[in-house]
């Protein structure tokens, strides 16, 4: 175990995989000489050189689809999306190529690749750079979607992602790169997909969340605990595949559920959780499933407006109380 931040944990996973398998290579904008916009790949260009750590032109569709072709032939590309907002340009390559080639080839051509990078608001990056896109990807069959909240999860899940034989959407959060935690240094440490992690136990209400939402929820839980309300926090970690069993188990105990995410509320991923909980745990529910999510607006630049556009601890605490009322 070593203490390190989320950013360094991701880098450690990359280093271990670059060392383990020569077919693993990194590609993305400014990941090399510039050391990465969020410095996740710092030092790797010097260590592995331009063949393994490739500075790409500003051509997201181009280098993503190139990675797809390379993956079909057995390489293991790990693509950095400088931010997932730029992933919007590569939707066709991701959703209509990477995700479908295995199926349309009748199982002949797996596409083992990872696309990773930050997604989410909170840095005043305004309308065009603040997307959380997990809902779009989770909606599209053929992809796995990973959203780690802690350094250890980030490392363990990224390792699993690179070992997986499918296209993996790996979403980091710009606001938690600096968060610290214990991280296993064992290069065999991996966290399986589709296994939620209960980050806090409690009896009164279940919060279902992932990524930054976990940290917000833990904060809210502290406040609530002072008022005698004990929430259980289920960190999904991967939303495709999704571990609904853990959610249902928790709801069977608490009878209340609140979903928390940064992404827009309307037709957001919270709706899927709500729909499943009410469908499969209808009789367990003492109150409707509530959603605490991003406001349905393009992200404003203004600091004060941005704060209003994203979920806060207060919003979560208020929703929990509403569910308990």
């Amino acid at each position: 175990m070593a203490q390190m931040n989320y950013r360094d944990a991701i880098r450690l996973a990359l280093i271990e995989e670059l060392d383990r398998d020569e077919r693993v290579f990194l590609i993305g904008e400014d990941i090399g000489r510039y050391q990465g916009t969020f410095r996740v790949t710092e030092g790797l260009f010097d260590k592995y050189g331009p063949t393994r750590v490739i500075d790409a032109p500003i051509s997201e569709p181009g280098f993503v689809s190139m990675a797809v072709g390379a993956a079909m032939e057995g390489l293991k590309p790990v693509v950095e999306m400088m931010t997932w907002s730029f992933g919007i340009l590569a939707m066709d390559q991701i959703v209509n190529h990477a995700a479908k080639i295995y199926y349309k080839s009748g199982g002949a051509c797996p596409v083992p690749m990872v696309i990773r990078g930050p997604a989410g608001p909170g840095k005043q990056l305004a309308a065009q750079h603040s997307h959380s896109l997990e809902t779009w990807f989770a909606h599209s069959p053929g992809l796995k979607v990973v959203l780690p909240s802690t350094p250890a999860d980030a490392k363990g899940l990224l390792k699993t992602a690179i070992h997986d034989n499918n296209p993996i959407i790996f979403m980091e959060h710009p606001q938690i790169y600096g968060v610290k935690g214990d991280v296993p240094e064992d290069p065999n440490f991996k966290i399986p997909f589709g296994v939620a992690d209960v980050k806090r136990e409690g009896n009164h209400a279940t919060i279902v969340t992932y990524s930054r939402g976990v940290h917000l929820s833990l904060e809210a839980a502290k406040q609530l605990a002072e008022e005698g309300i004990e929430v259980e926090i289920v960190d999904l970690r991967t939303i495709a595949p999704i571990d609904m069993e853990t959610v249902f188990r928790s709801v069977a105990k608490t009878h209340r559920a609140i979903v928390v995410h940064d992404d827009w509320r309307f037709a957001g991923f919270g709706a899927e959780i709500a729909a499943q909980v009410q469908e499969y745990a209808f009789d367990e529910l003492d109150a409707p499933v509530l959603r605490v999510a991003g406001a349905d607006v393009p992200m404003p630049y203004s600091r004060v407006l941005e704060k209003l556009a994203v979920p806060t601890e207060q919003d979560i605490a208020a929703a929990v109380k509403r569910a308990l009322a």
């Binding site: 063949t51 009748g106 051509c109």
Partner: protein, 336 residues
């Protein structure tokens, strides 16, 4: 009328090996022609659904190029892809079964006409999205370079793809990183119903592709001997120099854009233009040379045609009699 200025070359038919090769070129083009004709029939019988794009008229391009490949090479194509797999030697039965959506098909009936795959024959897919195949092929060539292999990758697509942004992005990366990919645009003058001069600001496509730091040239895509000669040179260049190449093959399709096309000829091209191009039928041209030079006789050709018709008929029967995929197949192959 945009027609190539490259003159068809005559063949050197000195050796018996060369004779056999010439006959094989013809055989492959004929197989494609007869196969496509059968597809058209099956489509009218509503056995083939969805979109069906036939390769009739363009056979020389695939056959000429693919004849020069080695086993470490790879091919990627757009949705008009039957010609590629047949030239690569895929089993016509499995191809036809795929077109009928049967479980014995190349892709277990899941891909269909636009999405053939045959890994054993080095075909890494037909793609339905304009531009898509260019990204895939660039990545396949990237792997060849990354692993320091000596293979090359052929990427076939239509003139309509010239306007896809992805092409520009991939050409730049291929040029930047010296990837061993040969981009072959089959310029058949039309993207669906839109003529080249209505979709491309520069109608010389070899010129349009000349600004990415690698060579490009225009060739006659109606003459298989000319295609083969050019292909030999281009493939050798790329295999040795390890850099991309762009080839504009001037060609023409003798059939509608898709088998369902009811506006052709008429709404976007004239019957006269079509007839004029049919005079350059790649099969007829090669046949004239072969027979004229005594490489093969008319009656031997007739025998060949009968054999091919039998192969195609057998493929049709096989496809007809094959089973549909079982219901469980729906949820298989989503994730590897």
């Amino acid at each position: 009328m945009l027609k190539t200025k490259v003159k068809p070359k005559t063949a050197s038919k000195t050796t018996s090996k060369e004779k056999a090769e010439l006959i094989e070129l013809y055989r492959q083009m004929l197989l494609i022609r007869r196969f496509e004709e059968q597809c058209n029939v099956a489509y009218r019988q509503a056995k083939i659904g969805g979109y069906l794009h036939l390769y009739i008229g363009q056979e020389a391009v695939a056959v000429g190029f693919i004849s020069q490949l080695q086993k470490q090479d790879r091919v990627v194509g757009h949705y008009r892809d039957h010609g590629y797999v047949l030239a690569l030697g895929s089993d016509p039965k499995a191809v036809m079964a795929e077109l009928l959506g049967k479980e014995t098909g190349l892709c277990k009936g899941k891909g269909g006409s636009m999405h053939l795959y045959d890994r054993d024959k080095n075909f890494l897919g037909g793609y339905g999205i304009i531009g898509g195949m260019i990204g895939i092929a660039t990545g396949v060539a990237f792997k060849q370079r990354y692993m320091q292999e000596d293979g090359v990758t052929l990427c076939f697509f239509g003139d309509g793809s010239m306007n896809a942004g992805l092409l520009h992005e991939c050409f730049n990366m291929a040029g930047l990183w010296d990837l061993p990919v040969i981009y072959i645009v089959e310029n058949n003058k039309y993207a669906m119903g839109t003529a080249l001069e209505h979709h491309s600001s520069e109608t010389n496509l070899a010129k349009r592709a000349s600004v990415y730091g690698f060579p490009s040239k225009q060739i006659d895509g109606m003459d298989v001997l000319s295609v083969r000669a050019e292909a030999r040179e281009v493939i050798k260049h790329v295999r040795e120099k390890r850099e991309p190449y762009f080839v504009e093959a001037i060609t023409y399709r003798f059939v509608g854009h898709g088998a369902a096309d009811i506006t052709d000829p008429g709404s976007y091209r004239t019957k006269e233009e079509l007839e004029e191009w049919k005079e350059r039928d790649p099969l007829e041209s090669l046949k004239a040379i072969l027979v004229g030079d005594g490489v093969i006789s008319e009656s031997e050709l007739q025998t060949m045609d009968d054999e091919i018709k039998a192969i195609v008929k057998e493929a049709a029967r096989f496809a007809d009699e094959s089973a549909d995929p079982p219901p469980d197949a729906l949820f298989e192959d989503v994730l590897a």
